[in-house]
Amino acid sequence: MTAPLIDVRGLRKFFPIAKGMLGRITGHVRAVDDVSFSVQEGETLGLVGESGCGKTTTARCILRAIDPTDGQVLYRTSGGKIVDLAPMSPAELAPFRKEIQMIFQDPFGSLNPRMTLFDNVGEPLLVNGMRNRRERMDRVAELLRLVGLRPEFMHRFPHAFSGGQRQRIGIARALATSPRLVVADEPVSALDVSVQAQVLNLLLELQARLRLTFLFVAHDLSVVRHICDRVAVMYVGRLVELAPTDAVFSRPRHPYTAALMRAVPVPDPRVSGADGILKGEVPSPASPPSGCYFHPRCTLAQERCQREAPALQEVTPGHFARCHFAAELDLAMR
């Protein structure tokens, strides 16, 4: 088996909490705390959790949009070499930038409103050395066709397009430099229902055609289930479950994952969603509870959970869960 395309090991990102005039640091928000996972080439890994769970921070650390506090982000280059992106300086990172690209959540903020589609989509090409305008135009036309837009639209400005179309433009830009890994940060959550399906289908098709690897950050479990091969669930900066999609959805091994799944409203009035609603709120990553972070809200919590923090354990091959009782729990879905 070849090494994974990206292998995150012990990733940490702490944000200091500054107080007072002098900016004295009184504590840390442990936004991402010891997260490890890997993504195989051609695979889609879903990173799921509620707001503030650290999923976006994790994605941005991998993209090196922000600097991780600690840990390794091992990347297998096209030459087969393994490099650690985490400690690299901007200059060292430069050659890898074009291989790891991002699709944004907000289709309105992600495109420069003052630039035409050609300039928006062509920008990564230009900064990566494609100086010839003619050549760039051909490539942009090809990319627009690839995402289902007409190449004639190239000289229009983003304000002429709807949310779904802009999201396609954003995808075209992410694909401009032929990346190997694409980090998609909630790419469909800002879209209308009828457009969501179009964009999901497009992502699936592009992956098949271009052999892309996706890190798919989302909060919507039904979308994640639809598009991902494996799912990683995060809670208060930590990974609580990591497993193939089918395994997670047929038999979750962490009570939080199960609760998250039950919370998704079912689009069928004959299925009642009233049972098993999670109590309380997500704790702050600045002052997480003792032991297992989930114990105050967990209906199955025992005295041990309050005292002792569980480790991420492999329950069945490839299925990891951070729960003391992962092996015994039967959380089969309705």
């Binding site: 993209l63 949009a65 430069a94 930038r97 074009k98 790891i100 690209q101 991002m102 944004f104 959540q105 907000d106 903020g109 992600s110 495109l111 420069n112 409103p113 003052r114 035409t116 928006n120 920008e123 990564p124 900064v127 990566n128 066709r145 690839l146 995402v147 289902g148 837009l149 007409r150 639209f153 000289h155 229009r156 400005f157 304000h159 002429a160 779904g164 179309q165 396609r168 954003g170 830009r173 401009a176 430099t177 179009q198 289908n201 497009l202 098709e205």
Partner: protein, 379 residues
């Protein structure tokens, strides 16, 4: 159920695109700003007015009817004269003013004598001047046909100088001070605010404290102190530049704050992050992605800052601390209207104040119009 065809989904429905839509679709930001701006009729009118004023700035001598420094004690405090265009056909003239000294008050009393007409003509030859300091010229917009006669469209002051001509020259000085001072402020503001906002950290802290310091010091005493420090023997040109620099040293702070705020907000924008992830260099991100985004705001803010500068210059000069005679500015002209007695006798000496009000209003209206138009993507 129909088989989903992915690539063509988006292209199906947008086949019919009207010409008007196409026009909007390919319209650049500046076009959109212009389309929105021209809907503000008041702002558009004010912009026209400002263009006229800047024409005066370019060549005040052409608009002046005579030398603004020419004194004549016998022609002091002549009231406003009215220009008549027709006299049985196109034949512009101005009724002559005749003075008679009141034997009791010993004051000159001026009355118009409609019988005596001073013939005037447009684009006439008169006082020679140098155009842009390069070409010799003597054509004036308006002047007495007989160059030995003097006309006072807006009256004369206590030394018998023609107020109309003096306002023309004053316009040049005051409007230029405003423009230059704001340009300098913009440069200081954008550079320092940009550094502060983009780099953050310690530099940001220093610049922010500096701005706070400058903003907390009361401005009038600062100006007083700084202008009092100017050597008395400086030429009017040197004083002029010194004053603009002083004005902009204090004026950049507001703009600096704004630019910093924009940088901070833009740094978090997704499209800026996208450019970073594409591998664009820092300078490219600033110049290509960040600056164009707030350029229109900067222009709007600057056009709102110009009137403040004009008022500042006028106040300084009015107090005798700014531009000093023999140089002419609106403030210098208003000095003439400093005492009640002159005002009672010669209320037309307040006309420069009117000009200041009109110019400041026009700048404000244009600035407001620009500010509203500068973000064409909002609704």
């Amino acid at each position: 159920m129909r088989a989903p065809s992915i690539a063509s989904d988006a292209t199906v429905s947008d086949v019919q695109v009207t010409a008007a839509e196409e026009r909007i679709a390919v319209a650049s930001n500046w076009q959109l700003v212009w389309w929105r701006f021209r809907k503000h009729h008041l702002a558009l009118f004010s912009a026209g007015l400002l263009i006229c004023l800047y024409c005066v700035v370019i060549c005040p001598a052409f608009f002046a009817t005579q030398d603004p420094q020419r004194t004549d004690a016998r022609q002091a405090f002549i009231p406003v004269q009215t220009l008549h265009l027709f006299d049985g056909g196109w034949n512009p003239w101005i009724p002559a003013t005749v003075g008679k000294r009141n034997p009791v008050t010993l004051r000159m009393e001026w009355t118009t004598d409609p019988q005596r007409k001073i013939r005037v003509s447009f684009f006439t030859r008169g006082e020679p001047y140098r155009l842009f300091g390069l070409f010799d010229a003597n054509i004036h917009l308006l002047g007495a046909t007989d160059p030995t006669q003097r006309i006072f469209l807006l009256g004369s002051d206590r030394l018998g100088r023609d107020q109309w001509s003096r306002i023309m020259y004053g316009t040049q000085t005051s409007m230029t001070v405003g423009l230059v001072a704001v340009t300098l402020s913009v440069i200081f503001g954008v550079v320092l605010g940009g550094i502060s906002g983009y780099f953050g950290g310690f530099i940001d802290l220093v610049i922010q404290r500096l701005i706070e310091l400058l903003q907390s010091v009361p401005t009038i005493p600062i100006w007083l102190a700084l202008s009092a420090a100017l050597p008395r023997d400086w030429t009017p040109i040197q004083v002029f530049f010194a004053i603009t620099v002083i004005l902009s040293l204090v004026g950049w702070t507001t703009l600096g704050r704004e630019v910093r705020g924009r940088f901070l907000a833009l740094r978090e924008e997704d499209f800026v992050l996208a450019a970073r992830l594409a591998g664009a260099r820092r300078m490219r991100i600033i110049l290509r992605h960040m600056v164009p985004t707030f350029l229109s705001h900067i222009i709007a803010t600057s056009s709102l800052a110009i009137p403040v500068m004009i008022i500042n210059e006028t106040s300084l000069s009015f107090l005798g601390l700014g531009i000093r005679p023999p140089a002419i500015s609106w403030g210098v002209l208003l000095q003439e209207a400093q005492n009640i007695q002159t005002l009672a006798l010669a209320p037309w000496l307040l006309i420069p104040g009117l000009v200041v009000i009109v110019a400041v209003l026009a700048f404000n209206l244009v600035g407001d119009g620009l500010r509203d138009a500068s973000d064409p993507y909002s609704h």
